[in-house]
Symmetry: C2
Subunit: 596 residues, 2 copies
Amino acid sequence: MQRFKLLAALSAVALTASTAALANDGLLKMQQNAKDWVMPLGNYSSTRYSELDQINKGNVGDLQVAWTFSTGVLRGHEGGPLVVGDVMYIHTPFPNKVFALDLNDDGRIIWKYEPRQDPNVIPVMCCDTVNRGVAYGDGTIFLHQADTTLVALDAATGAVKWSKKNGDPGKGETGTSAPLVAGDKVLIGISGGEFGVQGHVTAYNMKDGSIAWRGYSVGSDERLIVDPAKTTHLGKPVGKDSGTNTWEGDQWKLGGGTTWGWLSYDPDLNLVYYGSGNPGTWNPAQRPGDNRWSMTIFARDLDTGMTKWLYQMTPHDEWDYDGVNEMILADIDVGGTKRKTLVHFDRNGFGYTLDRVTGELLVAEKFDPAVNWATHVDMKTGRPQVVSQYSTDQNGADVNSEGICPAALGSKDQQPASFSPKTGLFYVPTNHVCMDYEPFEVSYTAGQPYVGATLSMYPAPGGTHLGNFIAWDAGTGKIKWSNPEPFSVWSGSLATAGDVVFYGTLEGYLKAVDPDSGKELFRFKTPSGIIGNVNTFEHGGKQYVGVLSGIGGWAGIGLAAGLTEDTAGLGAVGAYKALSSYTNLGGQLTVFALPD
Amino acid sequence: MQRFKLLAALSAVALTASTAALANDGLLKMQQNAKDWVMPLGNYSSTRYSELDQINKGNVGDLQVAWTFSTGVLRGHEGGPLVVGDVMYIHTPFPNKVFALDLNDDGRIIWKYEPRQDPNVIPVMCCDTVNRGVAYGDGTIFLHQADTTLVALDAATGAVKWSKKNGDPGKGETGTSAPLVAGDKVLIGISGGEFGVQGHVTAYNMKDGSIAWRGYSVGSDERLIVDPAKTTHLGKPVGKDSGTNTWEGDQWKLGGGTTWGWLSYDPDLNLVYYGSGNPGTWNPAQRPGDNRWSMTIFARDLDTGMTKWLYQMTPHDEWDYDGVNEMILADIDVGGTKRKTLVHFDRNGFGYTLDRVTGELLVAEKFDPAVNWATHVDMKTGRPQVVSQYSTDQNGADVNSEGICPAALGSKDQQPASFSPKTGLFYVPTNHVCMDYEPFEVSYTAGQPYVGATLSMYPAPGGTHLGNFIAWDAGTGKIKWSNPEPFSVWSGSLATAGDVVFYGTLEGYLKAVDPDSGKELFRFKTPSGIIGNVNTFEHGGKQYVGVLSGIGGWAGIGLAAGLTEDTAGLGAVGAYKALSSYTNLGGQLTVFALPD
């Protein structure tokens, strides 16, 4: 506990000084310390890369389980542990328990936080009762509960410092995403894309939970926080009323771009990056137009929320290709020039590389060859060229459009990729799933599902496997290697300086592969399917790898919620039925290390 | 699957031949094959000893986790896995799922059985919704469900062959114990000692589930299945009406010696051994007399149920010292002579050694020095000499008798001990817990608790630890060594020819110790507290050790059922409160092996 106490003391000083700069500096340094794992995606750039190299390509095959911990909660465990000094923080799906575990004592529980939440929130969580993790900053753990309560917990004691309601579950607004702490603020989005919820990201002042700014995905310029003349879309000012003028009437009020994914931050540019989700109702006939700014990458100023640029990937969505996946900030070579890029693997199956300073589109290529809904992205307009056969709008409501790839859960969902600066490659957990999609007319009732489509999902043509784990060259937009997996890879990957890449599988395997070839170096069957994100840390001079097991999430919703109809779980249940031969529910942490 | 198919084929032959002798022979041989683990306590003698020695005193420190499996069920996981050829069978607490796992494929699920049971059975399970395991015989897996359904499942497919109701949950009769397969019969007891249930053991014909015989613990000679002239108690005939004549009036009808513990079998003598539990109501003032045959060891003929001998350990129980713990059959030296003995560690704190042929009492000594309710056992009469200060009957109803050792959950509960013929010692998981006990008048209502006492429990004087793991010399009745444990040891131990003894702890550690000294050789923190029993088996030339984690049971009832009042859980909640700093609910199997 020595080191932790020191950190806590330092944090206290920072809080007393109470300046954004100080707080910012503390976490800025901590996210660069490879011994800790202080934010869900490892660092502000969301690279999920660690400089630790004790576990390496040569010895990873000897990895063994060091200790384990049951969370006591069933259903899907997304996200992963944080490590700050001698303490690990883990979280659970609803009811969103948080545990502080003593790394000096095989994970003894230092404190636990067990919120009491109205279970009525469960039916308004579209795709399992998941939570993607807590955030750390200034001696505080921030948790975004299912009921949208954002709570600040004393990292040393678990005592509640403050709590704020970020939304209203009665309207279908829920919390599943992990907060981001940056500067003196803690930022959080909102879930509920299947309930006609308007998306927004809100910056709370860490100190007291007061709101610094809230930027919506749809609505007036003021709500969006855009400057019509300065905020750009592919280099051009967005102009006035961009958040309403591509919608018919008031439809924008019923669903616009929820923000349930990951947040990244560039401290030099002071910009926060994230994506927005689907426009309201999955029946595209009910909402003509581009439906801006759903399905959009946002770059906002941390201090003011002002949108510097945005880019809509899937105008007028017809397939539920939410744009919320992580934004990885990496400086890579594109066309012979080193660029400050943002790399994003979208649900729509395209891997995008943008200039993160300007929002310029540099690369947009398919990261799964099965993708067929669009032929390509026009690099000038940024628009995908939709294939009529797979246009659920052109085919019309009450028509079953067959064979669309990817399925609604995308060529990749929220499970975050990793980037190794050593290889220059991105390691991407992907889905290899297609669908039939039949839209239908739906009317809005607050708090009720607002979906308007019937789906079924199945493996992409030519095989039976539902996933691939791939290495991607974001400078050229090409797959370097691809490992087929029986099921979607729904676990966040980890790349390390030890030349190893880790990821989990839905059957429950933690796997380690060679970053250059994808060759499997290690596998271990954890107690339940893995939809959590792998992390690594050093403690007592030893490198550890940790991951949460706990089958569930959208891909595992059949097991998690006990659904058996093929079209249940928004179409996912049928595709993943075979999972039940491999694993059961159960939330466990497994921590690995090399033998002494 | 090769080997398993062969076994199944052999079993089919045996069933066709349909003679007790053949079936008997098959399992007789299998229980001697150290590569399998075909019955919950390892073999008919319930020694929990394995001839496997690949894992030994010298290398056990290198043990590592080979694979893991989540059961998807929370609450207490008692019992342990069976292994038959290439297949492992594991079970869960309510709802009593059974999984057949493929040992050739990291525990892939070959089949699962998920009974639908009325959840109203949960409130009539006194001490968590535990189940102590399934039994194997003739290609069939036998499960005793919480609702008392005894079900026969095809071991290859999980298909139900037959199912029978063994009791009525509406009257508080429940199923928690593991069946015993012997000859052409499957035997099972019944739980419900806190609901005024009359205990019985029933022998079902394996083939079709018809009843061969049912022997009660109380009632008429016919119900008991005794021969007044030939059935003996300490060498003397029991005489007529022995099951009613030590009760006042009809009180015997409200609670007599439930049979929720373990069954052992001596094929040479063709005798089945087990113990009965407490007499009805914990308030002794309501039931004057010895209350025979509660708290009694039974030796019954397998074919007819006829009682050969019995021995009542705690006449007129005043402390809930159920006599159901396992009967270990071992041929050991007593007073210079090799005897066919039965060794039993009773809840009342005495370790008994009897001649299992005749029922002669050879040794009765305290296996926890804290035991204070009796000074000693009179070896002639077999009666304990009760200390007035700790007699809840002499102190009277509505008086709180303080400082009684052991507590109601005994110096040892159902967690089975092991016996190593190599050392001649018994390895006993024990409780080191005392109690205050205040009886009160209670009236009987079918299906309602019939307890009549308020208890609180705490560590035995002179320390804070709640358990010991001990080595016992049953020939002399002496503790060879004793390892204090922070909490009760509620896990069944395993002794092996590799000179290692294994057991689990409530914090979740699997530990390996030196059988001669108790020195710790290995420890590993499994996901949840261990109340399951450790087993071992060989597969593909490699020795494995397996154990179920999953905190709960009587000691863990606070965590399992979310109880917080100190006197809740029949007094156990207060004593074990600190457990919540170490572990959470969760059912997982962890399988260990040496590195390749």
